[in-house]
Amino acid sequence: MDSVQTADDWTLWMRQSLDGDEAAYRRLLAAVADRLRAQLRGRLARWGATDVEAEDVVQETLLAIHLKRHTWNRVERFEPWLAAVARNKLFDALRRRGRRVELPLEEVEASLADESEVAAGDESLDVSRLLSNLNERQQQIVRMVSVEGEAVREVAQKLQMSEVNVRVSLHRSLKALAALYRKGKE
């Protein structure tokens, strides 16, 4: 029952996010991150990966969810789409480790629905390392909105840029990060 409840929540939160509800989006991404972390730690540990590597995959998956959210059809449930994205990113991670695996979608979805709790110790190395490839202004903006938790408006004031430009730069930075992940794979 519980997991059905959660699935409905997530679908609702994602719809609200797409309608511009930032709080719902934060809530959703945090919940998804917890679930992914629980799932990935166990799965990747079997391949000898550390928790830090698992966190890398969590972050890469969040980035993909964010940048590709327009490919989710809002009249459908969110979880199956999420499972498909998560599976894709897990495949990439395992491919990077030079393994070949078969992973049925049902299994990913089932383990996404698993309620087990995992502590949220969650530093990852990849994003920090990849960030250094962006230009200085982009690094600055990403650091301010993420690490320092500033709002775009504050960032715009401090950097004497327009809000629109800060947003555009932030979006480009996130796309560039995703592209850098992809490059690292090839």
């Binding site: 934060r26 490919t71 059809n73 199956p80 969650d122 530093e123 990852s124 690490v147 947003r167």
Partner: protein, 211 residues
């Protein structure tokens, strides 16, 4: 970086990308227009166009090519997503081969044996082979761009569908110029041209549409 910090950054990025459907609906009509203008500016329509407008064999060429392009176009936004839920929808792509088969059968049944070979070889087979991919360049670029902006579960399959869309549309446009109207010619040369474009689409998407 901590995951909660990344989430803070993601939540502040509100740049919305159009859905695959919207992107396809916006871009493909433009691409078709460009390809159409390209044909008019280069080869031009056939000189006897006014005389053949009611000819069943001339119209059959549009029936075949559009029975490929339209179903492929409907599939394109779907194969562009991580969870396409295609079910039996891919069967739609068999519509064009079926139509073609019926056309060929009727042609073989009504035309004497001795005419088969010359009709199949036609007047400008190589021209057809070159023109279909050339007219497909802009639609293919638009289709691949749509895939790149989206997140296809299987980039190769999505690219092949993009190629069928573009090849089918290009073949329909080329049909306005081409004077070889026999279904035998269409079955041979149009098919080759379209399959080539589809192969190119699959190969390019394997690189361009990964996410």
């Amino acid at each position: 970086m901590k995951t909660e910090e990344l989430i803070a950054a993601l939540a502040q990025d509100r740049q919305a990308t159009p859905s695959p459907e919207r992107l396809v609906t916006r871009l493909l009509p433009l691409a078709v227009l460009v390809a159409g203008v390209l044909l008019l500016a280069t080869a031009g329509p056939r000189h006897d166009l006014a005389n053949v407008l009611a000819s069943p064999r001339f119209l059959f060429k549009f029936l075949v090519t559009l029975s490929l392009a339209i179903p492929a176009l409907l599939l394109l936004p779907r194969v562009a997503t991580p969870l396409p839920q295609l079910g039996r929808r891919m069967l739609l792509l068999w519509l064009a081969p079926l139509v073609l088969l019926v056309g060929v059968a009727v042609e073989l049944g009504t035309v004497p044996d001795a005419r088969w070979l010359p009709l199949a070889v036609g007047h400008n087979a190589l021209w057809c082979l070159a023109m279909v991919p050339m007219l497909a360049v802009v639609p293919l670029a638009a289709s691949l761009y749509c895939l790149r902006r989206a997140a296809p579960a299987d980039p190769v399959r999505a690219g092949a569908v993009a190629g069928l869309v573009s090849g089918g549309l290009a073949a329909a446009i080329y049909a306005v110029h081409c004077t070889d109207d026999s279904p035998l010619f269409v079955a041979l040369w149009y098919t080759l041209g379209v399959l080539f474009v589809s192969g190119v689409g699959a190969a390019l998407a394997a690189r361009l549409a990964r996410w």
